[in-house]
Amino acid sequence: MASSSIFGLCGALLIGMGLYGFITHPHLLRRLLAFNVIGSGIFLLFGATAARLPSAATDPVPQALIITGIVVALAATALGVGLVLAYARVTGRTTLPEDGAPTDPGKPPR
């Protein structure tokens, strides 16, 4: 089995895992963490597709796109962390109240 297949499938699994974490954790930092897991899963999957032809070197375009993607994800994470900190400073909470989002079963403990 080629590296690309192993890490491609690994990426697919990471995406699922991250999605699970993103949906089930009400804590906002954990969501950001899960977001990063999904992101790296996507990058891994994408990178694996770029390396899936054994005859040739890895396609440079996806690599460049992934580098861009990592930077963009970092930017979003940094803003997210800042928002969580500011939100916690103002409200003392680290979860969103009365979560109307259908994807969030968790509520802060009573």
Partner: protein, 497 residues
């Protein structure tokens, strides 16, 4: 030459201005005016050029797709760019009293951050409307999201921060879904260019393509706040300061919607199946009814307007079942595709106007409860007129752009025998009349005792200008209609099925 410079100006002018505004915060308002002028000039050059020569393509760096990224100015792009320029002009002028920094010696956080963020948001929009590369669109969308989220939180209050977080969570997940879809498409076809994808994917309905487009659609729908992904919209749009709300409601959802249209109608028109189109249409229909009913129940002005946006976004998704509409059989039925574009444009103008009105009224009345608006129509007649004209557009009454949109969509629905969508359109119009009537009637009622803070005339003129533009879009539909036919994908006429 000057034409490609105009395209470059559209995407770079706001960027350069934003960068300069970072180091020279006091110049923010003036830089914005310069960008408005620059964009206006670029559009004045571009529109006649594409009317005479057809859609224009600019390969960035001289690298043709698939290696490089291309920008393409077609009718739809220019229509959206023009709308965005009008809205941004009004918003940036309106923002000056709040963010312009009067005579204070020390700069404040809000005043420093607002101008670069607003200008970056604008540049992201312009890139989204022009770019033909799926990954470039992703980066632009992220720029849009980051600046929009920051604008929601700019007041630093608990509501705004919570709303920004909720928005960010939805947007992040949406971005990831879109990115995943784009990655799969590249892996399958070796290109990210919309036109080349269309050539590659002709005919077949590969399962991977379906999955990729499904992921991108879900992600973009979340960013557009289509029901059931709308939960972030109303806190974000109602919690932000009025100029930011205007941008968020009028422009930001249009960006992800424009990408959605590019993907479905231009990149992979062969993928659609009737059940899928009906599903997308049904989600739009539910959004229309749900958003309208909730708007009816609000007692706060900005919340009501925000829920109205949830409803109005629903109309956009009727494009999927309605486009085409057997128009080849009935040459006068010009097609829902253009109708939905008209809706997107007129909603953008009218909704921005309405949020600016709301912002001024809230300042004048000192509260955002609708009941507090009693007597404001006499005190601020220009705002009242703007609000009323914007309402006329949103309800879809003649002679506004909203009516042209409704007429084209209704005709399509009838011609193709899809009466359900026609019913949704009409019910949605009546419901919007019902919820928009309330604040108007309250503002119109006389209240001799109320004392309002005065509102400067220039600030009042901005929403009025936008609302008049929305009306003018209907009165002079011919021009925009013809413009939007330039470079229009053939699937817009033939439908997606």
């Amino acid at each position: 030459m000057s034409v490609s410079l105009a395209i470059v100006a559209l995407v770079t002018a706001p960027l350069v201005a934003a960068l300069i505004a970072v180091i020279l915060p006091r110049w923010g308002p003036w830089l914005s005016l310069l960008v408005v002028a620059g964009n206006a000039a670029a559009l004045v050059v571009l529109i006649p050029a594409i009317v005479s020569q057809g859609a224009l393509t600019l390969p960035i760096g001289g690298w043709q797709a698939p290696l490089g990224i291309t920008l393409r100015a077609d009718g739809m792009a220019l229509a959206f760019l023009t709308m965005a320029a009008l809205v941004m002009a009004a918003v940036l002028v309106s923002a000056r009293p709040e963010f312009g920094g009067g005579g204070e010696v020390t700069e404040t956080r809000r005043q420093w951050a607002f101008w670069p963020l607003a200008l970056l948001l604008w540049s992201a929009l312009n890139v989204v409307f022009l770019s033909r590369d799926l990954f470039n669109l992703y980066v632009a969308l992220e720029l849009l999201t980051v600046s929009a989220v920051a604008l929601v939180a700019i007041d630093g209050k608990a509501d705004g921060l919570g709303a920004a977080l909720r928005y960010l969570m939805f947007a992040l997940l949406g971005s990831l879904a879109y990115l995943l879809g784009a990655a799969l498409l590249y892996a399958q076809h070796g290109t990210l260019d919309i036109a080349l994808l269309a050539d590659q994917a002709i005919g077949g309905r590969a399962a991977v393509d379906m999955m990729a487009v499904g992921l991108m659609t879900a992600g973009l729908a979340a960013k557009t706040a289509l029901f059931p992904f709308h939960a972030w919209l109303q806190p974000a749009h109602s919690g932000a300061p009025a100029p930011a709300s205007a941008m968020l409601s009028a422009l930001v959802p249009k960006a992800s919607f424009a990408i959605l249209i590019r993907i479905w109608f231009e990149a992979l028109p062969g993928l659609a199946t009737p059940p899928l189109l009906v599903t997308l249409g049904a989600m739009g229909a539910i959004a229309i009814v749900y958003g309208s009913v909730l708007a009816l129940r609000q007692t706060r002005l900005k919340l009501m307007i925000a829920y109205s946006t949830v409803a109005q976004i629903g109309y956009l998704f009727l494009i999927f079942p309605l486009a085409g509409g057997d128009s080849y059989m009935q040459p006068w039925a010009a097609g829902a595709w253009t109708g939905v574009m008209f809706h997107a444009l007129s909603h953008g103008l009218a909704k921005a106007s309405m949020f600016l009105c709301a912002g001024l009224w809230i300042v004048a009345a000192g509260s955002d409860r609708i009941e507090a608006m009693r007597g404001l129509a006499s005190a601020t007649p220009m705002i009242a007129s703007a609000f009323a004209l914007a309402a006329v557009t949103l309800v879809g009454l003649p002679p506004s752009g909203g009516f042209t949109a409704k007429y084209l969509m209704l005709t399509s629905a009838f011609v193709s025998g899809q009466y359900v969508w026609a019913a949704v359109l009409l019910i949605g119009g009546l419901l919007s009349a019902a919820y928009l009537y309330r604040p108007l009637a309250v503002a119109f009622a006389r209240d001799g005792d109320a004392v309002f803070k005065p509102v400067p005339r220039l600030a009042q003129a901005m929403p009025l200008m936008l609302a008049l533009a929305a009306i003018l879009l209907g009165l002079a539909s011919q021009g925009p209609f013809a413009l939007m036919q330039i470079g229009r994908p053939s699937s817009a006429e033939a439908g997606l099925q």
